[in-house]
């Protein structure tokens, strides 16, 4: 068994990247491996409440993040500064998250066996 961290940095609907990362996340979780996520930069918008992607003909990726809990995803970490710089607070998000300060990000990443960056 290995621990997995998936680092997302891109905003919603930026190509197929996030969709395809979610597919790896769900596959790793289906292998019964401990999986965590870290959202940095514009990736914090993924968890913002009140998304209406149908209006621009895009897939509802928020729905995919909501099923992560069913897959036993252990933790969703979010960089506190990324959130703050975009005028967001944790109450704006639809998933429970663990805020981590920018200074603590490297130490957090170092605790995982396998890191996927996207």
């Amino acid at each position: 068994m290995k621990s997995y961290l998936f680092v997302l940095r891109k905003p919603l609907h930026s190509g197929a990247c996030v969709q395809e990362m979610l597919d790896i996340i769900l596959t790793a979780a289906a292998f019964d491996q401990p999986v965590s996520l870290l959202l940095l930069d514009d990736a914090v918008f993924h968890l913002k409440q009140g998304q209406q992607p149908a209006g621009i003909g895009m897939r509802d990726t928020a729905a995919m993040f909501k099923v992560l809990e069913l897959y036993d995803v252990k933790a969703v970490y979010i960089e506190a500064e990324s959130l703050h710089e975009r005028g967001l607070v944790v109450q704006d998000l639809f998933l429970p998250v663990r805020p981590v300060g920018r200074a603590g990000i490297a130490a957090l990443i170092a605790t995982f066996d396998v890191v996927f960056a996207g």
């Binding site: 290995k2 197929a16 790896i24 396998v114």
Partner: protein, 137 residues
């Protein structure tokens, strides 16, 4: 000539960028050669995201440019490396093997020699089996 390292490691590699999007694929290829030259093992390369464009058999670059699919095919044949293309990433981008296109009711045969199409389970399995898992792109 191969050097004999004090210990050998098993490497798995992931390639995420297309040949003309960045040099990630070329760096991965050269990294693999370096790893093999040190006597380590590379057992699988997984092509994901736009990395699947490395597997198109009918890519025809000009003669004085690098033909990546052929490079990978030769590498796989010479060193018995498992080249796996993610099925969902490939289907999104129109890369279909002969068998896959038959199942989809289409006529196509895009997969270069030495590559195979499979699922993300092969990627996760590779990360579990590897001593080192390196992502390019």
């Amino acid at each position: 000539m191969f050097l004999t390292p004090r210990f050998t490691m098993k490497f798995a590699i992931q390639v995420n960028a297309s040949p003309y999007q960045s040099d990630a694929g070329r760096l991965a290829y050269r990294f693999i050669l370096a790893v093999l030259a040190q006597g380590h093992e590379v057992f699988r390369v997984f092509f994901y995201h736009d990395g699947i464009y490395h597997a198109f058999k009918y890519a025809v670059p000009p003669d004085d440019e690098c033909a990546y699919p052929a490079l990978w095919s030769a590498l796989a044949a010479q060193h018995h490396i498992d080249l796996v293309v993610c099925i969902s990433a490939a289907q999104r981008r129109g890369l279909l093997s002969a068998g896959e296109s038959l199942r989809q009711g289409k006529r196509d045969d895009d997969l270069a020699e030495g590559f195979r199409i499979s699922g993300l389970g092969q990627l996760v399995e590779a990360t579990l089996l590897a001593d080192r898992f390196i992502v390019f792109g």
